[in-house]
């Protein structure tokens, strides 16, 4: 963590920690996944002054909660967009695409004001804001985001709640 000299003083450690939280929470790393929240600081090492500037670099060891979906994992997600190819859903910072190949065959795409996938008897409907349980079958983690391919074709997967259902 790099710090400008104006922060050196009594609150140095606090300032370091707040900067860490600000810079790191919400980012993505290939190895660990999405960093959700920092839970503790284990160790702050000695600072090294950088040549040519007054900035000082501190190595910090910290603990945090990470979110990294893995293949085979079952997740609950909220549908954000439905089109004739399938639907996009979000589970926190992770975006998941479920193609129509992986939607049960008895569900058909209906276009219109609120595009959706519905069973022939109309009993089950997937549309924007529906909550679905899906299984991850592929993931890709890069510098800024995590993207997954999911399926709802297996048993016990599919709509959890209908946003229009009366309570």
């Amino acid at each position: 963590m790099q710090l400008h000299p104006r922060h050196f003083g009594r609150d140095l450690r606090d300032k370091l920690v707040s900067k860490l939280m600000k810079d790191v929470e919400g980012t993505c790393s290939g190895r660990h996944g999405f960093i959700v929240a920092i839970t503790g600081i284990e160790n702050v090492g000695k600072g090294l002054i950088r040549d040519g500037t007054g900035f000082v670099t501190f190595p910090i060891k910290y603990q945090c909660v990470v979110f990294r979906p893995f293949k085979g994992e079952i997740l609950e997600a909220v549908v954000t967009m439905v089109n004739k190819m399938g639907f996009f859903a979000e589970a926190g910072p992770v975006q998941i695409f479920v193609s129509n190949h992986l939607i049960p065959d008895d569900m058909e795409f209906q276009s219109g004001d609120m595009p959706n996938y519905t069973t022939s008897d109309g009993s089950v409907k997937i549309q924007k804001d529906s909550e679905v349980r899906l299984k991850i079958i592929g993931t890709r983690v890069d510098a800024t985001e995590i993207f997954c391919i999911g399926t709802i074709k297996d048993d016990f997967l599919g709509v959890i709640s209908d946003p229009n259902a009366t309570a």
């Binding site: 967009m81 089109n83 004739k84 695409f97 193609s99 190949h101 058909e108 795409f109 890709r140 391919i149």
Partner: protein
């Protein structure tokens, strides 16, 4: 429970998948990471997702499936151009400050994000509302994506007409033109509305050309009265409704599956100049000439010689032999804009509105021999 991640790249079971498409290098059917998604081929559909590519087989499969869906709903597809078709935009920095307030007072939008002032074509909201009952609609512009999205918000504030079907210049496969390859609709069921023909090379049979809409012209500070009389979208809507009705004049699914809206459009166009037999004068004469071909498209018969059956002479020169003959023999003598008018208005227009005044000039066609008729 954290399981060990199984690496499937080298396993044989993953290769059973046909890999119909990739998003961000991940197969949408089996989830496998494709090492080199450039070698995948197919068509990039970036307007749906920035890293989406579908194989040609998958596009065909999706189109067929969706066509059946549309048939069930008795709908067709409509691809809509933006600039000069549904609206007209002008750079904010080309508009003086006092003009800007004047325009804002008259319901013209200022779209900060893309630095434009935009006037929607009269009747556009009704047009979209009525057209959406008969067509699954796309926006397709040569403008950039940000612009396309902002214009779509003006036209479709509830987001019900277009959804993810907004195609911008950078989403075209060939950036120099527009193509139906990125549209998930079967070509035999797609109609296009655009003020420009040249961008739709290869898809002219699907195209309905509309008169260019220009609000911010040179000297349009008081633009208003002319604009309100722009009835193009009203007319085009009626045309679309009739073509749709003609396509869906049966309940028989098998007939519909084999129908081609391009054919319906072609037949409909031929009503415009039905019964006319035209001979052209001077530079307009050669058979491959633009107006000859257009007149035939509109249902007229074209001839090379004067004769008893001729109904119209199309000329630029009122003193030519052929023009004089027309006057003597009491045939209609018109300038070529009479044919353009028939094209835009879908029916024959009063001939007296298109006299030959010798003032009209058209660009000379290359390699055409001028004959004195």
């Amino acid at each position: 429970m954290m399981g060990k991640r199984v690496r499937l790249e080298n396993s044989s079971s993953a290769s059973n998948c046909t890999h119909p498409g990739l998003i961000g290098g991940l197969c949408i059917k089996c989830g496998e990471t494709m090492d080199n998604d450039d070698g995948f081929g197919g068509v990039a559909l970036e307007y749906i997702h920035k890293r989406l590519r579908l194989s040609l087989e998958e596009i065909i499969r999706l189109r067929d499936k969706d066509f059946r869906n549309q048939l069930r709903q008795r709908k067709l597809y409509l691809v809509l151009d933006l600039d000069n078709t549904l609206l007209h935009s002008m750079d904010v920095n080309k508009i003086q400050e006092n003009q800007e307030q004047f325009f804002l007072n008259r319901g013209i939008y200022k779209v900060e994000r893309v630095r434009k002032m935009t006037k929607l074509r009269p009747f556009v909201h009704t047009f979209l509302e009525e057209a959406s009952k008969l067509f699954d609609m796309y926006v397709y512009t040569m403008g950039c994506r940000n612009y396309a999205v902002e214009m779509a918000k003006l036209l479709d504030p509830e987001g019900v007409y277009f959804n993810s079907k907004i195609i911008a210049h950078e989403n075209s496969t060939d950036k120099s033109k527009k193509g139906l390859d990125v549209v998930l609709g079967k070509e035999n069921a797609v109609l296009i509305l655009d003020d420009r023909e040249s961008v739709w090379e290869g898809h002219r049979d699907n195209l309905i050309l509309v008169e260019k809409y220009e609000f911010f012209g040179s000297g349009v500070t008081a633009g208003g009265t002319d604009d309100e009389n722009d009835g193009v979208l009203d007319l085009v809507l009626k045309v679309l409704q009739r073509i749709h009705a003609s396509f869906y004049d049966t309940e028989d699914l098998d007939t519909l599956l084999n129908r081609d809206v391009r054919r319906v459009l072609q037949d409909f166009r031929k009503e415009a100049l039905k019964g006319c037999k035209i001979v052209f004068s001077g530079v307009l004469k050669p058979e491959k000439q633009h107006y000859w071909k257009l007149a035939e498209k509109l249902g007229a018969k074209c001839a090379t010689k004067r004769g008893p059956g001729i109904t119209h002479v199309v000329s630029l020169d009122s003193a030519s032999d052929l023009s004089c003959w027309a006057i003597r023999e009491k045939r209609f003598l018109v300038n070529p804009e009479w044919i353009d008018a028939a094209r835009y208005l879908w029916q024959r227009q009063p001939e007296e509105k298109f006299p030959v005044t010798n003032e009209l000039k058209i660009a000379p066609v290359t390699s055409c021999s001028v004959e004195v008729c």
